[in-house]
Assembly symmetry: C2
Homo-oligomer: 394 residues x 2
C-alpha cells in the first residue's frame, strides 16, 4: 500500500448506508497542508460544498471528513448546520481549528444527514487513523461504484522524492465540470500555493472534465488536493522542469481515476476514447468530441458492437462545429470506416466490428479542415444503466 509522509486515513461504518458498509472516511495530515479545490458548477450546491469551498479557498486544510449514503443536498439551513457540526466534531477530536476541516458528502439528495449516527461515529474515527488505510477511505466513499479507485505516482526524479496519491468515487452522473464525483489527492510534496491551484485546475481540465457517462452534473462534486510538504523537497513552482513534472504526475493520477470512473460507468461495458483532430479551432474540436461522446445513439451502438458510423457522422454534423462532410475521416482504432465523408464498404466495417468487440478502443475523427485536437472518454449505454438508475432509491 502506497503511503504519503504525514498523511493518515481512517474509515468506518456509521450506519448511514443500511448495508453496514464503510460509509464514513477521514483523511488527516499531521501538519496543516496547502490545499486547492475544484467544486461543482451546478447552481444548486450541497451544504458540504457551501461549507468547504471558502475554507479551501483560504489555502490550508488539515483534515477531510467524507460520508457516502447521503448527499446533504437540498437540505436548507439544517443541512448547513449539520455539515458545520460534523466538521466541528472532527476538529475537536483532532485538536485542530475547524476551519482546517473540509467536509464532503455523496448519496441521495433531499434527506437530512442522520446526525445521531454521525455524532456517534465521528468521535471514534480518529482512533483508526493509520498511514496504510487509504484504501478503506476509497471504499467508504463508494455509492454505485463497483470497485474502489486509487492511483499514485512517485515524483522528484533525481531530487528529493515525493508521492502523489489520489482516491475517487463516481460511476453515474459523471459529466464535465464535476458530476457526482469526489476525488481527494494527497501529496507530501512542497508546492507553491498559486502553482498548486493552477496545476489542479489544469489537471482537472485534462481528466475529469473530458469524461462522460451521462450528461448530468451533480450538486456535490469536489476535487481536493492537500500538499503538506513533509517530503522536504525544494518548493515546486511554475515554469520549471520540477514543477512541470509535478503537473504531469498530478494529471496522470487524475486521468487514471477519471478513466476508472468511466470504466465503472453505471452499466458500462466499454471504455471508448474519442479523439478528434483536424478541427478549425480548439472549441470546434471539443464540441465534436463532446457531441459524439454524449450521443445516446452512438453509445448504444457501442453496446451493440455495431460499427454504425452513420450515427457518429450525424453527431459530428449537429455538434455546432464547422465541418465539411466531404473532408471527414473516421477510424475505429486503425480501421478506416469513413473517408472523405463516404463509407469504406462492408469489408472494412466487418474489421471495425472486431475492434468494437474489445473492452477498450478509440474512435478517431479527422475533420480535415484544420489543426486543432480534442479528446473525450466515454462509455457505452446499456440495459444495466437503466436498471441501476430506475431502481436506485427503491
Amino acid at each position: 500500500m502506497t503511503t504519503v509522509k504525514g498523511f493518515t486515513f481512517a474509515a468506518r461504518s456509521a450506519g448511514i448506508r443500511k448495508s453496514g458498509r464503510l460509509d464514513l472516511g477521514l483523511i488527516f495530515s499531521a501538519t496543516p497542508a496547502r490545499c486547492a479545490g475544484v467544486f461543482t458548477t451546478n447552481k444548486v450546491q450541497a451544504a458540504p460544498i457551501l461549507v468547504s469551498a471558502p475554507r479551501v479557498a483560504a489555502g490550508l486544510c488539515q483534515a477531510v471528513l467524507v460520508n457516502s449514503g447521503n448527499a446533504n443536498a437540498c437540505t436548507g439551513e439544517t443541512g448547513l448546520r449539520d455539515a458545520e457540526r460534523c466538521g466541528r466534531l472532527v476538529a475537536e477530536q483532532l485538536g485542530i481549528d475547524e476551519q482546517l476541516v473540509a467536509v464532503a458528502s455523496t448519496g441521495v439528495i433531499g434527506q437530512p444527514l442522520p446526525m445521531p449516527l454521525l455524532e456517534k461515529a465521528i468521535p471514534d474515527l480518529p482512533d483508526g487513523l493509520s498511514a496504510d488505510t487509504v484504501s478503506d477511505v476509497a471504499t467508504a466513499i463508494m455509492t454505485t461504484d463497483s470497485f474502489s479507485k486509487l492511483s499514485s505516482r512517485q515524483g522528484g526524479e533525481g531530487q528529493v522524492p515525493y508521492t502523489v496519491l489520489g482516491v475517487a468515487k463516481g460511476a453515474g452522473m459523471i459529466h464535465p465540470n464535476m458530476a457526482t464525483m469526489l476525488a481527494f489527492v494527497v501529496t507530501d510534496a512542497c508546492v507553491e500555493p498559486d502553482f498548486l491551484r493552477q496545476a489542479l485546475r489544469q489537471a482537472v481540465a485534462g481528466s475529469f472534465n473530458i469524461i462522460t457517462v451521462d450528461r448530468d452534473t451533480s450538486t456535490n462534486d469536489m476535487v481536493l488536493i492537500m500538499a503538506n510538504g513533509e517530503a522536504r523537497n525544494p518548493e515546486l513552482v511554475s515554469d520549471t522542469a520540477a514543477g512541470q513534472e509535478f503537473a504531469t504526475l498530478l494529471r496522470e493520477v487524475l486521468l487514471d481515476l477519471a478513466k476508472m470512473i468511466v470504466r465503472d460507468g453505471e452499466g458500462a461495458t466499454k471504455l471508448v476514447h474519442v479523439q478528434v483532430s483536424g478541427a478549425a479551432d480548439a472549441d470546434d474540436a471539443r464540441q465534436v468530441a463532446y457531441s459524439v461522446a454524449t450521443s445516446n445513439l452512438v453509445k448504444t451502438a457501442f453496446f451493440g458492437e455495431d460499427a454504425n458510423w452513420g450515427r457518429i457522422i450525424a453527431a459530428v454534423g449537429y455538434s455546432g462545429a464547422r465541418v465539411d462532410p466531404a473532408c471527414i475521416d473516421i477510424c475505429f482504432d486503425d480501421v478506416p470506416v469513413v473517408q472523405g465523408g463516404l463509407g469504406t464498404g462492408p469489408e472494412r466495417e466487418a474489421e471495425a466490428t472486431t475492434v468494437l468487440k474489445q473492452a477498450e478502443f478509440a474512435v478517431k475523427i479527422n475533420l480535415g479542415i484544420g489543426e486543432a485536437k480534442a479528446e473525450y472518454y466515454t462509455s457505452d449505454l446499456t440495459y444495466e444503466y437503466i436498471k441501476i438508475n430506475a431502481d436506485y432509491r427503491t
Copy 2:
C-alpha cells in the same frame, strides 16, 4: 378517412425494406400547391434534403416522393444523382415539371439507394393514387415507429371550410430542430405564401422543436406543407382572425403529431409534459425545460416511477439558467414535492409516485424569480430504448 380537396395518395412495397412492408409513398396535388418547408440543421445533410430544399424554397410543389429503409445520406455524388433520378421518374409519370417534386428519405445512413428497385416501383406508383389512402403513406414512412401518425383539423369557421391534414414518422433520434423525423402536411386552404412560411415556422417551434426522446438530430429531417387552394376560400393572410385560426390549427396538427412521436419514442412508456414558469427570461425558461427533459437520469427515474426530485433539481441547477435554489417549487401534476428548494416530505412523495404511475403526467417547475415560461414534451428512458438502438442494424 379524412380527405383534402385535390390531394391524392399512394403507397407500395418497393422491396427496400426486406420485410415486404410498404416503403414508398407518393403525395400528389392535382394543381401546383404553394409550399413551405423546415429542414434539418445538421451540417451533414442527406441527398434528398439537398435536392428538395431549393425546390421548396422556390414556393411551389405538386408531388412528394418518400421512401423508408434507406436515408440516402453520406452517399456523395451518387446519392444526389439518385435522389434527382427518383424525382424525375415521378415527374415523368405524373406529367409535371421535376422541379415541382420534393423527395424525402429515411432509414439507414451510408448505403446507396437500391435504384433498380426504385426504377421498377416508381412508375407503377401513380396508378394507386386515391383521395382516401393517406394512411398508407403514413405507414410507408415508418421506420422504428410502432404506429402510424396522422392528425387533421377542419378550419374556416363560419366561412369557406378547409382541411389541414398531416402525417409524420419518427420514434428515435427525436430532437429539437428536426430529428429523424419527417412530416408532410396538406391543406386545401388558399394561404398567402409568406404567411404560409411564417405559420409553418411558428408551428414547428411550438411542436416538433419542443419534443425530445434522445438528443440526437439527423441528416434527413423535413417538415413540408402544401396548400393547393382547392377549398376556394378567400386567401388566408397574417394578422387576421382567419389567419390566426389557420396558424392555430396548423400548430395543433403538428403538436398532435409531435406528441405521438414522443409517445412512440423508442422504448418509451411515458409522455411527460415539462412545464417551466417563473424564469427570469424566455431563454432561461427554455434552458431549464430542455435540461430536465433531456437528462438521462431524470428520464430513467420516470421509467422507474420514482419521484426522485433530486435529479430534477440537479438538472435545473446545471441548466445554465439563473436560479435561486431557495425559490424553486416542483410539482408532479398537482402534487408539490419541492417547495422553496426543500422536499415536502415522504407523504407527498408517496402521492407523487401515484402520479408517476400514469402513462402521461406533467412536471411543473416554478423557478419563482420571474415571469417567463417554457414547455417540453419528453419520454422515459427504458430497457427497450437500448434494445432497439443496440440491435437496429443487426
